[in-house]
């Protein structure tokens, strides 16, 4: 066998071995995935009590009930259109310090956090920060602005009133 062929075979054998070891060691986790856990996000619900994913219908109900909404997208996107009354708290900026308006929100109140929708992760990142800050009921609207807009729900443009 040529040297290149031998090298390739060795590499493939290492790859196959890795798959086998991973399958054995991670069998319980793979079972959980197969049962449908982690399909929306990779956090273990038990590790983050107070964090829940919600659908657009639930988000709409909470909005109509007057619950606080937080927009985790950039300020620019927020200005172009957002959920009415939503407060702007870009997840990226929040890493260096949460906006002051959070001080005025009750820690036990419901907070709905959203971002662009689709694959966006900033709502989850912000939600985790808010959990650390002491908020106890955070809902992540994973469909985000994309679904909200598509559903033809009310929208607002311009700067944050805060």
């Amino acid at each position: 066998m040529s040297e290149a062929g031998r090298t390739l075979r060795q590499a493939l054998a290492i790859a196959a071995l890795s798959v086998a070891v991973a399958a054995v060691v991670r069998f319980p986790l793979i079972q959980r995935f197969a049962r449908g856990e982690f399909r929306e996000t990779f956090f273990v619900a038990a590790d983050f009590p107070g964090l829940r994913m919600i659908t657009s219908a639930e988000a709409e109900d909470l909005w109509r009930a007057g619950e606080a909404f937080v927009d985790a997208r950039t300020e620019d996107l927020y200005r172009q259109g957002h959920v009415p009354r939503a407060l702007s708290a870009s997840a990226k900026d929040a890493e260096t310090g949460l906006p002051l308006f959070f001080e005025r929100l009750p820690l036990e109140g419901t907070l709905v956090v959203y971002c662009e929708g689709g694959d966006c992760q900033s709502s989850l990142a912000l939600a985790k920060l808010l959990l650390k800050k002491g908020f106890t009921d955070i809902r992540i609207f994973s469909g985000g602005w994309e679904e909200w807009e598509r559903a033809g729900l009310p929208a607002e443009k311009g700067d944050d009133q805060e």
Partner: protein, 141 residues
């Protein structure tokens, strides 16, 4: 081609050690790593999960084989292949303007950027030296 065997051994230990370390920190937190992969917005939830489960073991085993000197050329091929992939991934991520953690060394990860590319290029240089290194002298018949 570098023929200095002690130097090549040092390269193997350094590169293998870095890969073992990178793999172990990801093995400890598979879901965190899956999230890091997801953040790149290239693959969906299922593929992110599969990669997060398998890739750390590939890094660890390739590192162990490289240091142990078993199938070392194959291990060097795995490592250089992964590094080329990481470099392309980082450049594509930068071009797309995404602001994500590289996910390379667990909690010690930095933002995807030129620093990560340079680190990977340095490791790639070591990997290529090993891949192209002198063959084991064959015993005379």
């Amino acid at each position: 081609m570098i023929r200095n065997r002690p130097l090549l051994l040092l390269f193997r230990v350094v590169l293998g050690g870095l890969f073992i370390y990178a793999g172990v920190v990801k093995i400890v937190d598979p879901l965190g790593f899956a999230q890091d992969i997801r953040n790149y917005r290239l693959v969906g939830q299922s593929l992110s999960f599969i990669v997060a489960v398998v890739l750390p073991w590939l890094e660890v085993l390739a590192g162990v084989f490289l240091i142990a000197g078993i199938w070392k050329r194959g291990a060097a091929l795995v490592i250089t292949g992964l590094l080329v992939f990481f470099i392309v991934l980082t450049l594509v991520t930068m071009a797309r303007g995404l602001d994500v953690d590289c996910g390379c060394f667990g909690s010690l990860s930095r933002k995807s950027g030129w620093g990560v590319v340079l680190e990977d290029l340095a490791m790639l240089a070591l990997g290529l030296c090993l891949l192209m290194g002198p063959r084991k002298p064959r015993a005379l018949p």
